[in-house]
Amino acid sequence: MWRIIHQFGSPPWVYRFCDRVIPWLFPITVLALLAGSVWGLLFAPTDYKQGDSYRIIYIHVPAAVVALAGYYVMALAGLVSLVWRIKLADTAMRAAAPIGAAYTAIALITGAIWGKLTWGAWWVWDARITSMLILFFLYAGVIALFEAYENKTVAARACAILSLVGTVNIPIIYKSVDWWYSLHQPASIKFTESSAIDASMLYPLLGMIITFYALFALLMMLYLKRSLTEDYARSAWLHKRLTA
């Protein structure tokens, strides 16, 4: 058990691991994305209320789910980097921030398009939308803090502290935004999702959520490999690996 965890602290091992997994994960993710999109966009039944516009759910919801999970990945990597001073955890944290921010942006943009079609407005101060926007700012803060420091090890420690503070705060922010919304809730907006979603719509959705997780992992690995190549450009193991 401990050996497996220790291995993740070793750059050569992780590099090899990425090299082994990426050739599999890459095509599987691409195929799953294609299959999920086709299933969701063409074969899932049309919603009786929203028509075909609801189909954006197959992009919107997975992006939103993984965007939040991405913050916890980042914070967990930050914790590991703070406690055990593992350099790879720094890199993982650095990788998770822009990817998570991109997922959040996708969720916000698709949400705006969906909102325009169903509610008639690009932006509504709904509790979940607002929470996502704040999540985006939290990501932006971590990225900005990272860029501000010249010494990247110090930057990683600063970001780790910030993301841990954010982790404590995220549930509080979400709860408080819900609470705020319950005070201001306009009557015109109703969520159709509150009625249970049918299995024929649910399975492609679950498939897309898993696919988006896989995509997150894939992007993380590609980023890890790239920054390992940068950081260990002069190491013997990397030369051996690349020339082999």
């Binding site: 803090l145 501000a148 502290i161 841990l164 922010i173 408080s176």
Partner: protein, 231 residues
Amino acid sequence: MTEARDIDILHYCRSQTVRHLILILRSPSEMINPLVFFLLVIVLFPLGLGPDPKQLSILAPGILWVVALLSNLMICMRLFVDDLEDGSLEQLAMARVPLSVAVLPQLTASWLASGLLLSLVSPLFGLMLGLPLDVAPVLVASLLMGTAIMLLLGAVGAALTVGVQRGGILLALLILPLYVPVLIAGTRSLNEALHGGDPTVALALLGAGVTGGLLLAPLAIAAGVRVSLQL
């Protein structure tokens, strides 16, 4: 030796708080400026929104809280800057008192000079925006706790950005999202009081925030200071 250390912490905190208060009193502009800023921005709102007292009193809780939040941000921007420049922050980090305790006197002094002062004069500003005087206790209570939470959170951001060039705007980016719950609870308490509801729930949440903040924030602040000093 350990015994002396145990007794020293309280004494240390008291003397350091007094030291920081003296420092603030010697340059009173640092204390007055956030208040003037607070007043100035509040004056800008009626100028922008129109003088209708009814409309202003509807918007007053939000205006007061957002402006309090901004003036708190200004205080946080200055928080560790001087101490880093004259080297006393490094001394603090190397002292025998744990750093998470050692940063508290400065925060206490800053809060006494900013949050406390601002809360106590806030009913005056509330009157200018058409808030009835009978919500003044709720306004003062919510601001007393809210400014404390915001100072604790802001100090985390300040500790992380104090070593960075042009850290001010970065600080705003880092901590404004974290202020959201404080803003919501604070305005909610005022709105409840204005519309005959029960403000105690929101006030209790602010109180919980102060308690939780006092427990957790010093640890993060200490870690942040260590990062900034690159220790």
